[in-house]
């Protein structure tokens, strides 16, 4: 049977999603996502030629405000929930030199 998604694709999507999956999860998700995607393809029964995609129900457009400085959160409150910070910046491990990259 034509599988909608295989384990290799699941690993690729996990990388794109920035999720580290165990082998057991890869296996479980492959089956479950395959079943969901197969169901979702039901949409192909509908002819949508010439139908506009509807991303949003309201006729939304960009909202602008006057370019005036307003009060904002402030460094202390913005950093208050950070797992690691130095009072001024968020702290993360080194990005260059020995980082594994994407």
């Amino acid at each position: 049977m034509d599988k909608k998604i295989d384990q290799e694709q699941v690993r690729k999507v996990a990388r794109l999603s920035r999720l580290e999956l165990t082998e057991a999860e890869v296996e479980e998700f492959t089956g479950q996502l395959g079943a969901i995607l197969e169901y979702v393809e039901k949409m192909n029964e509908l002819n949508t030629d010439g139908v506009e995609p509807l991303a949003h129900c309201l006729a939304v457009s960009n909202v602008f405000r006057e370019d005036i400085v307003e009060e904002s959160l402030g460094t202390e409150r913005a950093l208050a929930n950070a797992p690691q910070q130095d009072g001024e910046f968020f702290r993360v491990p080194k990005i260059l030199d020995g980082g594994s990259g994407a």
Partner: protein
């Protein structure tokens, strides 16, 4: 006192006939008795609640004006930001997150002098239909402890049904207010998209999410709408009141809709279990007794709503949840040795399975090579579904259908089969895709004495009429007065 409506309690407190301190103390001690077994709340805030209650009582005594919810104990779902306590979204990744600001709806509740007693349990990030996806605790159905309360606003619905607050807020992306309201035998309203500000609501599917009330009566839902509805400069998708004015929903409630035309999609409704179909038929019969006319309508694309929804909602979720990166706030893995691992390990350790599944599904649907086939296709199907509603509302004032195909299902019954869980959302999802308001009101019980809900859907920005239509039924029936036997210390 617990039997009073939110409105009646407010009026008694404002008149000095009863005190908010007394009402709040009664609710808090009931929570202490009942909630260890029920699991409706993630956190309660006794000290703050009692202080606010005392302040309302003091102002009443001093003859100062008090708000529309003066002294009334209420609850909010834990995906709405509060500066008090944590805002967890029932996720391990946010379990210690303290918001620097309040959601607009929280500000509005406080401005109306409500007493927020706690924050309620939910499916993690509002992803689920049973509240079983909470990483923090389990909520059971107040009518049967072996069954789910529905989801994702299961904690709010269980709390309202069990009299652990007088009213609550939930959020509804694909049925998350209406389905738990139905499973727990209370009233749940999903307003029109854009009617209530989403500022400070932790985002799941931004084009679908909407906050609304869960209450014991239609009148209390109208009262809550009076407090939370309206334009908010902080949410640019909340609608300008010159385009769609808000009104006094409570005042409009008393006016029955003359010559009501009810749209019914018989073929679609046939998919529900027999007790649900029977209750729906009897409910429609009540309206016919009031002079309403039933119109058979065709909505051929409704059947595709679940498919479109699980592409659109997950695509939006995959983008919204990218912010949980272990850097700015939330859990960071202690095992991460480099920058990318901060992301991948933090997310792997602290996000639940259903959340991972939906992020993966959405990422896939948006990824190169699949975008047109899944995401773009789903947006076109969404447009067709909205077209079905537009067409239907030319022939009728409202549409009536089940809320869910079944009554509350057993705990554990569907957790290992996500697709089956998704399919249980069949009746609620379309209103989110089309952005229209929909309400669930109690309309009966099945053979196991589990509540059944009636869903009524109306055109965009007609919550006033929707509530008035719901009230017509409530006035004729006693279903909303039924109470579960919740075991506690009393």
């Amino acid at each position: 006192m617990e039997q009073l409506s939110a409105k009646a309690l407010r009026d008694r407190i404002a008149a000095g006939e009863t005190s908010s301190v007394e009402a709040t103390e009664a609710i808090l001690s009931r929570i202490e008795d009942v909630d260890p077994a029920l699991g409706a709340y993630i956190s309660t805030h006794r000290e703050m609640a009692m202080e606010r209650a005392a302040d309302v009582d003091r102002r009443v005594k001093a003859g100062e004006p008090v708000g529309e919810l003066a002294g009334v104990p209420v609850a909010v779902k834990d995906n709405m930001c509060t500066t008090f306590g944590a805002t967890t979204c029932a996720s391990a990744i946010l379990k210690d997150f303290h918001s620097p600001y309040n959601a607009t709806v929280v500000e509005k509740l406080l401005a109306a002098d409500a007493v927020i007693v706690g924050k309620t349990n939910m499916d993690e990030f509002a992803m689920g239909s049973s509240t079983e996806n909470s990483a923090l605790r389990r909520t059971v159905n107040p009518w049967d402890g072996a069954r789910v309360p529905g989801g994702s606003s299961g904690g709010s619905a269980a709390a309202v049904a069990s009299r652990l607050c007088y009213a609550a807020l939930g959020s509804d992306t694909g049925g998350s207010i209406r389905q738990p309201a139905s499973f727990c035998g209370v009233v749940g309203l999903k307003p029109t998209y854009g009617r209530v500000s989403r500022f400070g609501l932790v985002a799941y599917g931004s084009s679908l999410d909407q906050i609304g009330p869960i209450t014991r009566s239609v009148a209390d839902a109208a009262l809550m709408m009076n407090v939370i509805a309206g334009r908010d400069a902080a949410d640019s998708t909340s609608v300008d009141e010159t385009i769609a004015p808000v009104c006094d929903y409570l005042e409009k409630l008393a006016i029955p809709v003359e010559g009501l035309k009810i749209g019914v999609v018989s073929e679609f409704n046939a998919g529900a279990d027999e007790p649900v179909r029977e209750a729906l038929g009897e409910a429609i019969g009540v309206y016919e007794g009031l002079g309403a006319e039933v119109v058979e309508i065709g909505m051929p694309r409704l059947d595709y709503a679940i498919a479109a929804y699980y592409v659109i909602a997950t695509a939006e979720a995959s983008s919204n949840l990218a912010r949980y990166d272990g850097v700015h706030y939330g859990h960071r893995s202690e095992r991460a040795r480099d920058y990318v691992k901060v992301y991948t390990k933090s997310r792997a350790e602290a996000l639940g399975k259903e959340v991972k599944r939906r992020i993966m599904l959405g990422t896939y649907a948006l990824s190169s090579g699949y975008y047109d086939a899944y995401y773009l296709k789903a947006l076109k199907v969404r447009n067709l579904i909205r077209g079905d509603f537009t067409e239907a509302f030319r022939k009728c004032d409202c549409i009536m259908m089940p809320v869910a195909p079944t009554t509350a299902f057993g705990i554990g019954e569907k957790v290992d089969d996500p697709l089956t869980m998704y399919l249980s959302d069949i009746y609620t999802i379309a209103a989110n895709l089309a952005g229209v308001p929909a309400i669930s009101i109690p309309c009966g019980f099945d053979g196991n004495r589990l509540p059944i809900g009636l869903q009524i859907i109306s055109p965009a920005f007609t919550e006033d009429r929707l509530l008035a239509i719901a009230r017509m039924f409530e006035r004729q029936t006693d279903w909303h007065k039924a109470e579960p036997t919740v075991s506690g210390g009393h």
